[in-house]
Symmetry: C2
Subunit: 232 residues, 2 copies
């Protein structure tokens, strides 16, 4: 009976932090007025936590910033909701693993605590972080992540630039490489889009839609508002 | 007394495979007329090996394509030179680790066997793969790689696009994240550029130059032809 809100990007071009998705976050939270913010994807956790605190205060929501100590563990056990912020996915997952919080976060979410993530925070909701765009700046013990969903997420999904002369792989080429090695559906979530899961139903919200990639199958486009329930 | 030729990209826009760097590869090889090609960064090793075989045959150089079996081990012990091709760095490193060839390749290169790499093949010459651009599609036992150099390489280094509305991290932002967690020089090697190491001297060749990034220091530009000896 998980409740998940998985956002591609926390800031949209020309808008403020979370502006494009805050309405959906508030709808998702319903009457909840307290959120535990996970700042581990960013190096300076304190200022990152402060940004989140200010942003949610403007909506009348109190933020408790997660720390890796015993107090943090208590916060994680008690909080009515979590929001894992974006940054570097390897750093986020490694910190959750090293602190022992990965299991707690998974258990509480499976028990029904609403989980919100943006970018790296959305990546770690999938079975593994194997479809992150981030640089492997630190080595987590395992790429296995929260496994709250049966499919992989690629946030900030980017269509190929037809005029680019850069020879690095396109995003789709990278995900095809993933599918060569792994047989699991990938949802390429464009900027502006999010996935909302309510128990056994899932749907695509926001702007720009998603590209669904499967092994040995042509990619499939889904527009904003489309159901993703068949992927659960 | 290592000899290394580390190329940013194996194909330049509008040119054929290795065309922009084959002259330097031939100069680097000198009288050597046989190369062991490491195809492990790509899923279809056979067709990848065939492409390399054709390309080098046009230059009068015979290619032996590395396999992970006992025969491959013998080839690696005997070959007068190695070229590790591009593709996915995680897949390349994991295959070298699983086959036990990582140590052999390192030892032979330190003993003086000329090592050439392109893209992923250049990434693995560094101490770790923590500055690769590739997606972590498989999990190697360790991010530690061949450690033939004291600095990290970021191949396909890409300057920020001033008109982009995409909110994913720029390459420089990703490397700054690396430097938050690791205190080691990074050479951002633009497409068209390469690093040539001859024992205790190193220099930058090809086109477009490199950007040198260090912790707590402004990035530094080096043009084609610049020395990199101070980084050894």
């Amino acid at each position: 009976m998980s409740r998940l809100l998985l956002i591609s990007n926390s800031t949209s071009h020309g808008e403020g932090y979370l502006d494009h998705c805050i309405g959906e976050m508030l709808s998702f939270l319903g009457p909840i007025r307290e959120v535990c913010f996970v700042p581990f994807a960013v190096y300076d956790r304190e200022s990152y936590g402060e940004s989140a605190r200010r942003r949610f205060a403007a909506e009348g929501i109190e933020v408790r910033v997660l720390t890796t100590d015993r107090v943090g563990g208590e916060v994680l056990e008690e909080t009515p909701a979590v929001f894992a912020g974006g940054g570097n996915t390897f750093r986020l997952l490694k910190t959750l693993q090293d602190s022992g919080f990965q299991g707690v976060l998974r258990r509480r979410t499976l028990e029904g605590m609403p989980y919100m993530g943006a970018s790296a925070g959305s990546n770690i909701a999938a079975p593994t972080i194997r479809t992150t765009n981030d640089m492997p700046i630190v080595q987590p013990a395992s790429f296995d992540s929260l496994d709250l969903l049966p499919f992989q997420i690629n946030p900030h999904y980017l269509d190929p630039d037809p005029v680019s002369q850069h020879m690095g792989e396109t995003r789709e080429q990278r995900l095809v490489e993933y599918l060569e090695e792994n047989d699991r559906v990938v949802v390429g979530l464009r900027e502006g889009a999010w996935i909302r899961v309510e128990g056994d139903e899932a749907g695509l919200g926001g702007r720009n839609g998603a590209r669904i990639l499967r092994r040995d199958t042509e990619p499939e486009e889904r527009p904003p508002g489309a159901s993703l329930t068949d992927l659960l």
